[in-house]
């Protein structure tokens, strides 16, 4: 029973980690621009993140090595450093987008308060919560809160979409015509939003922090978290696309603001829908801000071999000075960038698309270690994990080459 509860909590945490401002922005835009046509990209992204998250969790359980430890050890110092620099740049952009996103959500209800004050409140509250709460508390509070986004699943059903059209959206097709580049930009964006690297940095480091142990049955917990948590996250993504496809696509609304995503719940369920969506977004984006900042701190400390870990609690930060300073610095940098007036939604798009470029360098070492029998023993990758791992590595390599040209050629999807 205890294990079932642990799995349930883990699934909720994985779900909370999956849905962030990237999902909210790209899925809503994809649905508004192309109706159901891009639904097929959701399972592509979900299977990819579930495959690699399961591998990361298994590697962490067996070898006690988190992702960036593996990155440096397998790629060597130079390529590892390039991966670190790219990842940190993406983490800063991600945390900037998430902190800005929280302020945007607060603006739904506190429009009279200057945006910069809301930014300050968002950054201070998140840092305070991270400082005070233990690792498990952070993971679960934001995970549970993010479940309020279930309002979008209810809205997707309530809006009575043509389920035949929805089903046909899951069949990949090759877009032609003048919207081709924009179509592929959003396809890359939805896949990339699911596979952003900070999720696996956080997930594997969390497994080491929580002391996952094969003898305690934690490999089953890992598998359940990766499969069901990210699959449920995929259901949320599909719901966002359906709501946008039904409400915004027919009238040609282009959702350039986070408020448009919230509008989907408000149109369907009135003020209650808006409140649930706003709170759900707040927790989901807040959780992602914490994960992004921790991912940056984990990567930095693990690359240099410093002591790290939130389970040693922030108030005992003397034991982890580098790690604690790193996550705080990330929040401060994010806050400063937000203060310049940069649009959080635009930053999200850049963060997600640029993250794709770092993905192959992050995922290759994980695949190599997970296939290494000397390290993994009988828990080495099976045929399915190897096949999916190699397939996604190839896919991500292609996507990493086309992502930035697509971003600029389509003027970040606005044509």
């Amino acid at each position: 029973m205890k294990k079932v509860l642990q799995i349930a909590l883990g699934v909720v945490a994985a779900l909370g980690g999956f849905v962030d401002i990237g999902e909210l922005v790209f899925n809503t835009q994809a649905g508004a621009e192309f109706g159901y046509q891009l639904l097929w990209t959701v399972p592509v992204g979900v299977i990819g993140i579930a495959t690699y998250a399961e591998m990361c969790g298994r590697v962490a359980t067996i070898t006690k090595r988190p992702v960036f430890d593996v990155v440096r050890q397998r790629l060597g110092f130079g390529p590892g450093l390039v991966t670190l620099i790219a990842s940190e740049a993406i983490n800063i952009l991600t945390v900037t987008a998430e902190v800005g996103g929280i302020a945007l959500v607060m603006q739904f209800y506190f429009a009279d308060i200057p945006f910069r004050v809301l930014l300050l409140i968002a950054a201070v509250v998140i840092m305070f919560v991270v400082w005070v709460l233990p690792f498990e508390g952070i993971e679960r509070i934001f995970g549970y809160g993010g479940l309020l986004l279930i309002v979008y699943i209810a809205a997707a059903v309530h809006l009575h979409p043509d389920w035949g059209d929805v089903a046909s959206g899951f069949v990949p097709h090759w877009q032609t015509g003048e919207d081709t580049l924009i179509y592929w930009y959003f396809a890359v964006g939805v896949i990339a939003a699911a596979l952003v690297p900070y999720e696996v940095y956080f997930y594997s480091s969390g497994a080491v922090e929580e002391g996952w142990d094969e003898s305690q049955g934690d490999l089953a917990v890992n598998k359940a978290n990766a499969l069901f948590g990210f699959a449920l996250g995929g259901v949320f993504s599909v719901a966002l696309i359906i709501v946008a496809a039904v409400l915004f696509h027919p009238v040609g609304v282009s959702p350039d603001f986070l408020g448009t995503t919230a509008l989907g719940a408000q149109i369907t369920f009135g003020q209650t829908g808006l409140l649930l969506a706003a709170l759900g977004m707040m927790f989901a984006i807040g959780g992602a801000a914490v994960e992004g900042s921790f991912a940056g701190a984990y990567a930095f400390a693990q690359f240099l071999g410093w002591e790290w870990g939130k389970s040693r609690k922030a108030k005992h930060s003397k034991k982890t000075p580098g790690f604690t300073s790193a996550w705080m610095l990330l929040f401060v940098l994010a806050f400063i960038i937000d203060l310049t007036g940069a649009n959080p939604v635009l930053i999200t798009e850049y963060a997600v698309v640029m993250a794709v470029v770092a993905l192959p360098l992050t995922y290759l070492p994980i695949l190599l270690i997970a296939r290494d029998e000397r390290y993994m023993g009988e828990r080495v990758n099976g045929r399915l994990a190897n096949t999916l791992g190699i397939f996604y590595l190839g896919l991500l390599t292609v996507v990493s080459v086309v992502a930035l040209p697509l971003l600029f050629a389509t003027n970040h999807g606005s044509g």
Partner: protein, 213 residues
Amino acid sequence: MSAVGTQVDLGLRLLDDQLFDSEEHRCGRVDDVQLKGAPGLPTEVSALLVGPGAWTGRLRKPFAYLVEGLAPDYMHYVPWNDVVRVGTSVRLSRPAQELGLETSDGRSVQWVGDAPRGTIRLSELLRSRLVTTTRTDLGRIWDVRVERQTELPDERINEAWRVTGLVTGRMGWQERIGMSPEGDAAEGETFTPWESVQDISSGVVTVADVGGR
């Protein structure tokens, strides 16, 4: 099961590993490895080198100049007999402070620059090209293979790790990152025996011309 085996490729299995001291405290990474010996003569692992002074030398030129100005001009030195175990990480026999790690009091340090006389740094070999005495280029050196002395190895270090050869060529890169299994310690496309090494200087390792090369 041992994570290293009897034939150990130092780049793949030791370099860049996480260090834990005797109190399970993370205290750096294996930023370089010091070998004691000379080209072609018996050579073995003698110490681990830790800290920015050790890794700045592994950066490529423009980055190296940039970082060298900022990083300390020394590296910490952990004698091989203070290494207890090498598995998926490296375990040390004493607390980090006692070993001089995480301190700046000058204990157990080595200065940046040329390796001390009679020693070779692993990074020096890993950034070199392998050529024969008749100047035939055999490719980049991707890894350095050592041999453990015990028949049934575990992860404890209670023995010398002796250098047996260099891993090079196209397949060598795949071996270095663990994409293909490490080969046997036999001369072949990717392996050059250490006994044939004649000279190491400024990015070039010269080996004796063997028939067929």
